[in-house]
Subunit: 126 residues, 2 copies
């Protein structure tokens, strides 16, 4: 796939680079509506996908478009297969002191954390 330049896409990238927040598509749409009065949300989504493909921006996701549930038993981390999307519980011990360590470093109060590890599961590795 070959990409051409477009003023819309360049403005989206510029806008994302200029902010420390983690915008949603509609936030971007609202901002750029001033520069491009005829802009459509579809264009924003299309360009966000292209920029992600190009590795110029990151989409913050958990590896699934579905809500997923689990019966709470004990704290644990997750391993998510990048190919098939399966989620596995890990036995790796939870870092209990991590919240406190980071709280001190950042000067905020952290109550909990989640870690997702990504890679290929047994089946997809073959």
């Amino acid at each position: 796939m070959k990409f051409r330049r477009s003023r819309q896409r360049e403005s989206i990238l510029e806008l994302l680079r200029s902010t420390k927040t983690h915008p949603t598509a509609s936030w971007i749409y609202d901002k750029l509506k001033i520069e491009f009065p005829r802009l459509s949300l579809g264009t924003v989504y299309r360009n966000l996908n292209i920029l992600t493909q190009q590795g110029l921006i990151n989409k913050i996701d958990c590896g699934s478009t579905f809500d997923r549930y689990e019966a709470r038993n004990h704290p644990h981390y997750h391993f998510i297969c990048e190919q098939c999307g399966s989620i596995f519980d890990l036995n790796t011990p939870v870092m209990k002191n991590l919240n406190n360590r980071v709280s001190e470093l950042e000067n905020i109060t952290i109550k909990r954390h989640m870690i997702e590890f990504f890679g290929l599961c047994e089946k997809c590795k073959k």
Copy 2:
């Protein structure tokens, strides 16, 4: 809010407790359709929300129903405010050896990981 018991809700909890997978609502729906032929997806969703409220199950999420984007610069972790949903980049150094450590422990190949810390941000703390 007061909750009554319902056979549907109890079966959903039982099902979630009996599996090591991380089911979606429709997977649960399919399984329970045998026991409750008139079951509706709405009921599954309602009960999943109630069970989550009661703390009996976990919903695996990243703190946002919107896709969020950021311009990639350097690896970092995220802090997410449990109240307002804001996402902040942390300066805490990334644990480069974590992938390898966990890979050895679990005997799988981990390529990357994400950490989200949760708590209350400056504004919401007040």
